[in-house]
């Protein structure tokens, strides 16, 4: 047997490059900008475009770890409740006399603990799917928030605390600056590190990953903890924007976040999707809502539009995928025998 040479250089074609879901999202985003500018005279100026990000970026922080979770074929539907619980803990500790810095730290810690508990239960009791575990903790965490604060609201933070949600760096909202930093870091982690590669491996074939020495349990634990931590970050921004908090804040945030991730092209079947897609999806949903808000569209229309956007875009990816599949997967065994 003579050894053959196997190509080690990746073929690059423009067609393949442009045939990525992310370009479709870019196209949609541009259309939304065009639509917004045409329907409202108030949209297209720098201040409003920048300020708009303040209205939708709070929950966007959870999108980053959620992308990782969904790539790993897991899901976390407790994040909304985690936001509520960590926000309530922060407000209560501050009102109980703790310095604000420590209260913020406690908020982050609470979030991380919630996420860690999710991850721990999922890793320790593999018979339980993440849906079951996080459904239970979703009810539990919000329940604890209610136990703590009942139907009160807590707030009275120092003035500078509102900087998180309302402050600017120059003319750019602080939240946008932090978001961009997170986006860069998480994108690099997912696509350029061993950790990220392992996440894809786990989502594509968890067993094979474990057999290949990937520390599956540890990675899941870390990512779920990250989800809790970012939920706490969301809690800080949300609380800062409202100046006070209550146990029922951030209801249904989990579904908003999952919708953004799905729109971004990350399939819940695991192993597929890119961080950039999810980031684009955040802005698509955000600016669509903002633009329609500027023309005072009724809330019910907004619901329908967002729902249809999700369904249509996923249908589109699905059809695209099906066509591709027909072409290549006939009988894998028969192919490439030579």
């Amino acid at each position: 047997m003579n050894t053959r040479t196997i190509s080690g250089e990746r073929e690059f074609t423009w067609k393949k490059f442009f045939l990525q879901w992310e370009w479709m999202l870019v196209l949609i985003l541009i259309s939304i900008f065009m639509m917004n500018s045409s329907i409202s005279p108030y949209f297209f100026n720098f201040i409003n475009i920048a300020d708009a990000t303040m209205t939708f970026l709070d929950k966007a922080f959870i999108v980053f770890p959620m992308v990782m979770i969904m790539i790993m074929r897991e899901i976390d539907i407790s994040v909304g409740s985690t936001v509520a619980l960590s926000s309530v803990v922060m407000a209560m500790l501050y009102n109980a006399g703790l310095p604000i810095g420590l209260a913020i730290a406690a908020c982050l810690l609470t979030g991380a603990l919630c996420g860690f508990l999710n991850g721990y239960l999922i890793v320790r009791y593999k018979e339980l799917s993440a849906v079951i575990v996080t459904l239970a903790t979703m009810i539990l965490y919000r329940g604890i928030a209610y136990m703590l604060l009942e139907d009160q609201s807590a707030g009275g933070f120092p003035d500078w605390f509102s900087y998180f949600g309302w402050g600017y760096v120059g003319t750019i909202p602080f939240i946008l600056v932090l978001f961009v930093a997170f986006a860069v870091i998480f994108t690099l982690i997912l696509h350029k590190t061993v950790f990220g590669r392992h996440i894809y491996a786990i989502g594509s074939n968890s067993k094979a990953s474990r057999f290949s020495g990937v520390k599956v349990d540890r990675i899941k634990l870390i990512v779920f903890t990250l989800a809790g931590l970012t939920a706490a970050i969301t809690a800080i921004f949300l609380t800062s924007r409202m100046g006070s908090t209550r146990p029922n804040v951030a209801t249904m945030y989990e579904l908003d976040v999952i919708a953004m991730v799905a729109l971004g092209g990350i399939s819940t079947a695991g192993g597929k999707g890119k961080m950039t897609g999810a980031i684009l999806a955040i802005f698509i949903v955000g600016y669509l809502q903002f633009g329609l808000g500027l023309i005072n569209i009724p809330a019910q229309m907004l619901l329908i539009v967002i729902g249809l956007l999700l369904i249509i875009s996923v249908t589109v990816t699905n059809l695209k995928f099906k066509v591709k599949k027909k072409k290549t997967v006939g009988h894998p065994q028969q192919k490439n025998v030579s």
């Binding site: 045939l19 479709m24 196209l27 949609i28 259309s31 939304i32 065009m34 639509m35 045409s38 329907i39 409202s40 005279p41 108030y42 949209f43 409003n48 300020d51 708009a52 303040m54 209205t55 939708f56 709070d58 139907d151 009160q152 609201s153 707030g155 009275g156 509102s162 949600g165 309302w166 924007r241 409202m242 100046g243 006070s244 209550r246 029922n248 804040v249 951030a250 209801t251 249904m252 903002f290 329609l292 808000g293 500027l294 023309i295 005072n296 569209i297 009724p298 809330a299 019910q300 229309m301 907004l302 619901l303 539009v305 249809l308 956007l309 249509i312 589109v316 059809l319 695209k320 066509v323």
Partner: protein
Amino acid sequence: MKRFVNLGLLMSLLLVFLAACGSNQPAEGGDGKAKHAVVFKNTGNPYGEKEMEGFKNAIEDLGGEAILRAPDDPSVEDQVKIIEELISQQVDSIAVVANDYDGLEPALKKAMNKGIKVLSLDSAVNGDSRMVHVNQADPEAIGRTQIEAVSEMIDGKGQIAILSATSQASNQNLWIEWMKKELEKPEYKDIELVKVAYGDDLRDKSVSETEALLQSYPDLKAIVAPTTVGIAAAAKVITDKGLIGDVVVTGLGLPSEMAAYIENGATPWMYLWNPLDVGYLAGHASHSLVEGDITGEAGDKFKAGELGEYEIIEGEDGTEILLGDPFRFDKENIEEWKEIY
């Protein structure tokens, strides 16, 4: 690739369609009309629809443009978002029916900093985040009338319970406090308040809370529900269980919803203010603020169309405009009112 382009076209089409929908709305900003916005708690609430309608009537009478907004569920987050959108549209005034007393403060302060006049109506925001509050009823008056009514219905003695909402909107808690204060008076010494239950303003929860009250307190004589969802649920339970006459229900309710129960006697009578008037008064207040007729200081006076003249007074937290005493709905007048709201 072709398919891809097609999809792109499809998407753009969808967006154009949306744009077309959108442009039906009056969105032109440059015609010099003052723009007054009102933000209610949530959409799909007939009480809110009436309140916003009253606001709109006032604004249109005065030649302005009214923007009516409400999030799809009663959350502070979404109200903040809407306020931000209104700021971007450079409206002249924002009137809010708040989902939280403090939660809108930063958003409304930002609006005020941009020169927008801010007031609250019905469910208030704190004194720092508004110029004035349009109070549909004096909490003291509500607490007093409720207790007077229930006392009259049960002849001044027996167990009563309160079925409240979540009471986060601060109103219910305040009224309940006033009710408790009223109950301390000697003439009510035979009335015992056994429990304050919370139905969270959800139908099913309010029903099971009412059932629990009836189970736990077989001698219960009356349920006071100072919330529209709660009173309807309680009256329904009493009707279904055939307890009409044994247990009375009163409180604050919508005439349209409660007509059936007032007619069948589950609720002999109840109270509410007219949400059209609340909105109407708020509309005039918005206009006067924008015109500079009033600044929101105590002592300012303005004319509110057919409602007459109002004076701003000092409230517990910030200044207020009081609409008046709550209105009594009974068998005599319910026929006429149930069609209105």
